[in-house]
């Protein structure tokens, strides 16, 4: 049965979270040094010009008036226009171009992490203290320890320079144009929907290395968590009972153990996804993919406040949404949680 009350409660919690994040972002930006009007006008601009920009942006209003206006705009998801990075373009438009890039990267990275991390964790737990277990554990430890800014260039060196089998940067070959077939903004999905197989192959080839780099860390963490969770579950009385009743080892592990062991792993996957969105900055930089993470860093550097506000709030919204999905998944895995 769908846990309606549980989901409704979690959805209602989104309201204080988003108001909290909006208030925090607004306050931090107003307490930090720098004048947005001066940033837009440039240092050589006349005082009159700076004053005019200030009046146009409503910066002459008291901060409490600006705050109320800001909250009203947040509800409409309207953060105004970019001051510096992409003048005369709305933040919504800019994010519509960059968010799918990061989401695509994070989704494939997470998919890689789940597809390899969970089976490896289960295998490691089932074959505890064997060569398979030791190899998996060392591999996971290495995956967690190696930073992206090091593994990224190394993989580029191996697959692009030495072997020459994969491209070094970008999202698709420069010979293709994805603008006419744009639907979701995610290149692999758009090309697939349009049935453009050559473009699809090129997009997948471009996405392989970044997804691998971002997914290895995720895979390592998931496999470690899955192993320890599985080890705890296989020692439970109900597992012994199932085996004593004559059930095969594989079926016992997969039918009774796996679902229960998944609960803490699902938590990690949820938190990881938020981390992947934020952590994609490094991968985007290494592989020259212009996503929302890179946009945020650039906006902070140049003081483009509307973009900072829009990006941080979008991150917060996505993160809380992912955690909502995690909570719903919990309630399916263990119905007692709904109580």
């Amino acid at each position: 049965m769908f846990p309606k009350r549980f989901v409704l409660k979690r959805l209602l919690l989104l309201v204080p979270v988003l108001i909290g994040v909006a208030t925090l972002v607004f306050s931090i930006l107003h307490l930090s040094p720098g004048d947005p009007a001066l940033t837009i006008a440039g240092e050589r601009a006349s005082q009159e010009f700076v004053e005019r920009i200030r009046a146009d942006l409503g910066l002459n209003d008291p901060i409490w008036v600006q705050y109320v206006d800001f909250l009203g705009n947040v509800v409409r998801f309207d953060f105004g226009e970019s001051y510096v990075i992409n003048r005369n373009t709305t933040v919504r438009e800019i994010m519509a171009n960059t968010l799918p890039v990061t989401l695509e990267l994070a989704l494939y990275g997470q998919l890689f992490g789940i597809l390899f991390g969970i089976p490896l964790g289960v295998l490691s737990a089932v074959k505890q203290d064997t060569l398979t277990d030791h190899t998996t554990r060392v591999g996971a430890l290495a995956g967690i320890s190696v930073p992206i800014f090091w593994s990224g260039p190394l993989l580029i060196l191996l697959f692009a320079q030495v072997l020459g089998v994969l491209p070094t940067s970008g999202r698709i070959s420069s010979t293709f144009s994805v603008s006419p077939i744009r639907v979701t903004g995610m290149v692999t999905i758009d090309t697939l929907l349009a049935g453009e197989w050559d473009m699809f192959k090129s997009a997948v080839r471009h996405m392989l290395l970044p997804s691998l780099v971002i997914g290895v860390y995720s895979m390592a963490l998931i496999s470690r968590m899955m192993r320890s969770s599985m080890l705890e579950v296989v020692r439970q009385d109900y597992m012994r009972t199932a085996r004593a009743k004559g059930q095969g080892a594989k079926i016992t592990v997969l039918k009774h153990g796996f679902r229960n062991a998944l609960i803490p792993v699902v938590t990690i996957i949820g938190i990881q996804f938020g981390g992947l969105l934020g952590g994609a900055v490094l991968t985007e930089t290494v592989f020259a993919i212009g996503g929302i993470g890179t946009l945020l860093v650039e906006a902070i550097e140049v003081g483009d406040y509307p973009i900072v506000q829009g990006t941080v709030l979008t991150f917060a919204f996505l993160f809380t949404l992912v955690n909502l999905v995690v909570d719903i998944t919990y309630s399916y895995l263990d119905p007692r949680i709904q109580q």
Partner: protein
């Protein structure tokens, strides 16, 4: 008509924090003007943003406690690592802090209008 005890208790927590916040605001504004070299209106605006920090943090903390507090309590108990942290006390603390921030945010415009 009397309010239910639970609502009264929550109201008391938030109001207590708001009273402290509203008293702290003129003190902060005076301090910023006297020691920080701020103009009166700029000081009131800074106090508003400062209150916003507390209010925003408290909202996030409160929502986090409601969403995951019981799970954290259960995990601590399960791991035999009980630190005495409880969801209820966390919610109460966040309500007080939120009240403090809201008090500052409500009084700062009044102070700003009076001095500005």
């Amino acid at each position: 008509m009397s309010l239910p005890p639970a609502v009264r208790e929550r109201g008391r927590l938030v109001a207590g924090g708001a009273v402290v916040g509203s008293v702290a605001t003129p003190v902060l504004v005076a301090g910023l003007v006297a020691l920080g070299g701020f103009g009166p209106l700029a000081a009131a605006e800074t106090a508003f943003a400062f209150g916003g920090l507390w209010f925003g943090l408290a909202l996030l903390g409160w929502a986090g406690s409601v969403a995951s507090g019981r799970a954290i309590e259960a995990a601590q108990e399960h791991l035999d690592a009980d630190s005495g942290w409880t969801e209820r006390r966390s919610r109460r603390a966040m309500a007080r802090i939120g009240g403090f921030g809201a008090g500052m945010m409500l009084v700062a415009p009044v102070v700003g209008t009076a001095v500005g």
